[in-house]
C-alpha cells in the first residue's frame, strides 16, 4: 500500500512538472541588484537584473530596512529610475546609514528572492556630467591668445550650502589626434589653454566628481576651430634662446679646444699614485702578492680587515742621549684622552712606522739618523715629519685613513705608542701597510692576521688603560706566540752595534739557560742594555739582568734575585721580548725611584708600565 501511495505521488508530481515544462512556466529566476547610485547625496536609485523569466508575467518588488530600524519598507518609486529600478526620494534617503535591501520576483509559479544588498549612500555618489560647456578662442591685444572654456555644474547638486563639493577635469585633443590632453581643474568652472596648434579643430570635454566618490561620464564633446593666425609667441623667444645657447656652446668648445689640456688638468687634477718604493701597481692588479711584497720588502703578510682598530696611541720610547722625558699631546686621537709619556729609552719602543723594519727602512733614513731630534718634542717634530716620512704619509693615506694613527701629517711617525705597545705597533704597522699593498694572504699570514686583529682591537680600547693594557698584554703574548713562527718575515734591517741609540728593537728568545738566563736574539737590532735595576717585586717576574752578549748578538740574561723571576721567565719564553723591552724602558726610568705599584699591571706573566704613572711622577 505504501508503495502504491508513494508511486502515485511521484507520478502526479512528474505529471505536473511535465505540464509545466510543456507550458514553459517556471518560477522566476533569482534577480540581482547590480547597481545603486546617488547623483547628489539627496536621492539615490538602485537597479536590478531579473533572473530567468519563467514564461509568466513576473512582479518585482524591492523591500528594505535601514540600520537601526526593524521595520521593513517597500520601494517608494519604481518608475523614476526606469524599468527594474527603485528610486529613493529625499525623504527616504539618509546618509551615513546602511540600507539592507532585497528584490523579490514573483510569478504564478512561485517567487524567488535576491541576495541582500548592504548599501550606504555615502559611498555610491556619482554625479551627472557638467552642463553647458562653452569654448572660445580669446585673443587679447597685448597678451598671448588662449582657449577659454567654461561650464556649469550639473543640476540638482547643491554647491552653495557646501553639502556637495565638485571637482572638475577637462580634456581636449585635435580632431584627428589619438591621445587626449587632460587637465585637472579643481573646483573652478572655467579653464584656459595656452598651447594650441593653429588651424586645427579641437574637441573639448569636461567631467566632474564629488570630493569622495566616482567620476561622472564625460560631457558631450564641443568642437572649436583654432584660427590660423593663432600666434605662438613663445616660439620666437625659444628660437632666440636656442641660437644664443648654440653660440655660447661653440665658444666654449673653441676655448676648450685651444686650451684643452691645461683646463682639464685644472678641473681634474691628476690623482697622486702611491709613492712606495718598489710598489708596482700592476703587480697589485694582477694579484701577485708575493712579487709585490718581495718588491716592497715584505714577505707573506696576512691581511687584516679592520683598520679602525688602530685608533691607538702609541707611546714611543726612544733611546736618545738626552734621556729626557716629554709629554706628548696626541692630537690625532683626542678620544683616547691620554697623554702618553715621552720616554727615551733605548730600543724597545716601537717608533711607529719609521722604525719598523721592512717597508720604509730606506725612507726612514733621515729620522733614524737623528733619533734625538726625531724624538724631540713632538710639537716640533710634527712639521718635520711630513717631509721625512712623506712616503709614509702617502702610503698611509692610501690606506684610506684606516690607520688613523699613521696619517695626519707625519704625526704617525711622531706618535708615541705606549711602551707595551711598541713591539706590536711596529709589527702591526708592517702588517697593515703590507696588507694594504698585498691584499688577502694565505695561511701563515692569517695567524698573524688574527693576532694582529686582536691586538688592533685591544689597542682600540685604550680608553680604559688597565683594560687596554691587560688585553694588550694578552695580545702581545698571543702575538708573539704566533710570530715566533713568522720570524722570517721580520727582516732585521738595522743591525746596529750594541748600545746604539736606535730604539725599537724586538728580541726573540733564543734559549733559556739552566739557571734561568735568557739568551735573546734581537730581531732588528740588539737590545743590549745596561743592567737593569732590580725592581721591587710585587708580582714582577720579568725583569732580567743582562749578563752578557754572545756573538751573533745574542743577549744572555740572568733572572733577578727573586726566584719568581726565574720561574716566570722559564714559564714563557715568549714573554721575554716584551719584558726585555720593558726592562730597557724601565732602566731608562731610573730617574724614578718609585714606580707606583699601580703603574704596573700584571697579567699573564707580563708586567707593563702605565705611562700615565710616569706622567704623574714627572709632574
Amino acid at each position: 500500500m505504501k508503495e502504491n501511495v508513494l508511486s502515485a505521488t511521484v507520478f502526479t508530481l512528474l505529471l505536473f512538472l511535465n505540464t509545466c515544462l510543456l507550458n514553459g512556466q517556471l518560477p522566476p529566476g533569482k534577480p540581482e541588484i547590480f547597481k545603486c547610485r546617488s547623483p547628489n547625496k539627496e536621492t539615490f536609485t538602485c537597479w536590478w537584473r531579473p533572473g530567468t523569466d519563467g514564461g509568466l508575467p513576473t512582479n518585482y518588488s524591492l523591500t528594505y530596512h535601514r540600520e537601526g530600524e526593524t521595520l521593513m519598507h517597500e520601494c517608494p518609486d519604481y518608475i523614476t529610475g526606469g524599468p527594474n529600478s527603485c528610486h529613493f526620494g529625499k525623504q527616504y534617503t539618509s546618509m551615513w546609514r546602511t540600507y539592507i535591501m532585497m528584490v523579490n520576483a514573483t510569478n504564478q509559479m512561485g517567487s524567488s528572492f535576491s541576495d541582500e544588498l548592504y548599501v550606504d549612500v555615502t559611498y555610491i555618489v556619482q554625479p551627472d556630467p557638467p552642463l553647458e560647456l562653452t569654448v572660445e578662442v580669446k585673443q587679447p591685444e597685448d597678451r598671448k591668445p588662449y582657449l577659454w572654456m567654461k561650464w556649469s555644474p550639473p543640476t540638482l547638486i547643491d554647491l552653495k550650502t557646501g553639502w556637495f563639493t565638485l571637482l572638475y577635469e577637462i580634456r581636449l585633443k585635435p580632431e584627428k589626434a589619438a591621445e587626449w590632453e587632460t587637465h585637472f581643474a579643481g573646483q573652478q568652472t572655467e579653464f584656459k589653454i595656452l598651447s594650441l596648434h593653429p588651424g586645427q579643430k579641437y574637441l573639448v570635454q569636461v567631467r566632474c566628481k564629488p570630493d569622495h566618490g566616482y567620476w561622472s561620464a564625460w560631457s558631450p564633446a564641443t568642437f572649436i576651430q583654432i584660427p590660423s593666425d593663432f600666434i605662438m609667441n613663445d616660439t620666437t623667444v625659444w628660437i632666440s634662446v636656442a641660437v644664443l645657447s648654440a653660440v655660447i656652446c661653440l665658444i666654449i668648445v673653441w676655448a676648450v679646444a685651444l686650451k684643452g689640456y691645461s683646463m682639464v688638468t685644472c678641473i681634474f687634477p691628476p690623482v697622486p699614485g702611491p709613492k712606495i718604493k718598489g710598489f708596482d701597481a700592476h703587480l697589485l692588479e694582477k694579484g701577485k702578492s708575493e712579487e709585490l711584497l718581495s718588491a716592497l720588502g715584505c714577505q707573506d703578510f696576512p691581511p687584516t680587515s679592520d683598520y679602525e682598530d688602530l685608533l691607538v696611541e702609541y707611546l714611543e720610547v726612544d733611546d736618545s742621549e738626552d734621556q729626557h722625558l716629554m709629554s706628548v699631546h696626541s692630537k690625532e686621537h683626542p678620544s683616547q684622552g691620554m697623554k702618553p709619556t715621552y720616554l727615551d729609552p733605548d730600543t724597545d719602543s716601537g717608533r711607529g712606522s719609521c722604525d719598523s723594519p721592512s717597508l720604509l727602512s730606506e725612507k726612514c733614513e733621515e729620522p733614524q739618523a737623528n733619533p734625538s731630534t726625531f724624538y724631540d718634542p713632538e710639537v716640533i717634530e710634527k712639521p718635520e715629519n711630513p717631509e721625512t716620512s712623506h712616503t709614509w704619509d702617502s702610503q698611509c693615506i692610501s690606506m684610506e685613513g684606516k690607520i688613523p694613527y699613521f696619517h695626519a701629517g707625519g704625526s704617525k711617525c711622531s706618535t708615541w705608542p705606549l711602551i707595551q705597545h711598541n713591539p706590536r705597533s711596529s709589527y702591526h704597522s708592517i702588517t697593515d701597510v703590507c696588507e694594504v699593498a698585498v691584499g688577502p694572504a694565505d695561511a701563515p699570514a692569517t695567524l698573524l692576521d688574527e693576532a694582529g686583529k686582536d691586538a688592533l682591537k685591544s689597542s682600540q680600547t685604550i680608553k680604559s688603560r688597565e683594560e687596554g693594557k691587560a688585553t694588550q698584554q694578552r695580545e702581545v703574548e698571543s702575538f708573539h706566540s704566533k710570530t715566533d713562527q713568522d720570524t722570517p718575515w721580520l727582516l732585521p734591517q738595522e743591525k746596529t752595534p750594541f748600545g746604539s741609540a736606535k730604539p725599537l728593537d724586538y728580541v726573540e728568545i733564543h734559549k733559556v739557560n739552566k739557571d734561568g738566563a735568557l739568551s735573546l736574539l734581537p730581531k732588528q737590532r740588539e737590545n743590549s742594555r745596561q743592567p737593569e735595576k732590580p725592581r721591587a717585586p710585587e708580582n714582577s717576574k720579568e725583569y732580567a739582568k743582562v749578563s752578557g752578549v754572545m756573538d751573533n748578538n745574542i743577549l744572555v740574561l740572568v733572572p733577578d734575585l727573586h726566584a719568581k723571576n726565574v720561574a716566570c721567565f722559564e714559564e714563557s719564553a715568549k714573554e721575554a721580548p716584551p719584558s726585555l723591552e720593558q726592562n730597557q724602558a724601565e732602566k731608562d726610568l731610573a730617574n724614578f725611584t718609585a714606580t707606583p705599584s699601580k703603574c704596573r699591571i700584571q697579567l699573564g706573566g707580563l708586567d707593563y708600565l702605565d705611562p700615565a704613572c710616569f706622567t704623574h711622577s714627572f709632574h
Binding site: 539627496e42 540600520e67 529625499k90 534617503t93 539618509s94 551615513w96 546602511t98 550650502t161 557646501g162
Partner: protein, 227 residues
C-alpha cells in the same frame, strides 16, 4: 544744589537709556566678537585648514578600510556585522541636508568636536594593537598612525575655531566612549577580524561625516551659504 544735581541725573539717565536702545539694535553676534578684520581672515584660514585635514583624514580612512577588507575580510560577509556597531551612533548627528541646515551653528560645532574627541582613544588603541600584531601590515599601520596624528591636529583646530566663533562656550567634555578594546584583543580570529572591520568601517563613516559637516559649516560661516 538741586539745580546742579538734576541736570546730571538727567544726563545720566539719558545716557543709560540710549545705551540700552543701542544695545538692542546691536547686530547678531558677529563672527569675531573680538572685532577687527584680522580675525575674519584668521577664521577663514582656520576653516580652510580644517577642511583640508578632514578631507585628508577621510581619504586615509577610506584607503585603510579598503586595504584591510581586500587583505583580510573580502567576500566573507563581515559587513552584516557592522549594523549598529559604531560607538558614535548615540550622538544626534544630522543625516541629510535638511537636518544639517536646521542645526544651529554652535551645536553643530560642538557636535563635531564631540565626534573628534570620541575618536582619540579608539585611534590610539588601533595603532597600538596593529603595531603589536605579528606581521603588522605596514600600509595599514602607517595610515592609522597618520590618521591619529591628523585627528589630533584637527581637534586642536576645531577648538580654536570654537573659541573664536563662540568664545563663551563652556568646555563640554562629554563624548561617547569607545569600549571595543577587548574585542580587538580576542583570541578568536573571526571575532577579532570582525572587531577591526567594524572599527575601520565606523572610522570611515565618521570621518566622512566630519568632512561633510565642516564643508557645510565653512560655506555657512565664511561664505554665508554662497560657496
Amino acid at each position: 544744589m538741586n539745580i546742579k544735581g538734576s541736570p546730571w541725573k538727567g544726563f545720566l539717565l539719558l545716557l543709560l537709556v540710549s545705551n540700552l536702545l543701542l544695545c538692542q539694535n546691536v547686530a547678531p553676534l558677529p563672527v569675531c566678537p573680538g572685532g577687527a578684520a584680522r580675525c575674519q581672515v584668521t577664521l577663514r584660514d582656520l576653516f580652510d585648514r580644517a577642511v583640508v585635514l578632514s578631507h585628508y583624514i577621510h581619504n586615509l580612512s577610506s584607503e585603510m578600510f579598503s586595504e584591510f577588507d581586500k587583505r583580510y575580510t573580502h567576500g566573507r560577509g563581515f559587513i552584516t556585522r557592522t549594523i549598529n556597531s559604531c560607538h558614535t551612533s548615540s550622538l544626534p548627528t544630522p543625516e541629510d541636508k535638511e537636518q544639517a541646515q536646521q542645526i544651529n551653528q554652535k551645536d553643530f560645532l560642538s557636535l563635531i568636536v564631540s565626534i573628534l574627541r570620541s575618536w582619540n582613544e579608539p585611534l590610539y588603541h588601533l595603532v597600538t594593537e596593529v603595531r603589536g600584531m605579528q606581521e603588522a601590515p605596514e600600509a595599514i599601520l602607517s595610515k592609522a598612525v597618520e590618521i591619529e596624528e591628523q585627528t589630533k591636529r584637527l581637534l586642536e583646530g576645531m577648538e580654536l575655531i570654537v573659541s573664536q566663533v563662540h568664545p563663551e562656550t563652556k568646555e563640554n567634555e562629554i563624548y561617547p566612549v569607545w569600549s571595543g578594546l577587548p574585542s580587538l584583543q580576542m583570541a578568536d580570529e573571526e571575532s577579532r577580524l570582525s572587531a577591526y572591520y567594524n572599527l575601520l568601517h565606523c572610522l570611515r563613516r565618521d570621518s566622512h561625516k566630519i568632512d561633510n559637516y565642516l564643508k557645510l559649516l565653512k560655506c555657512r560661516i565664511i561664505h554665508n551659504n554662497n560657496c
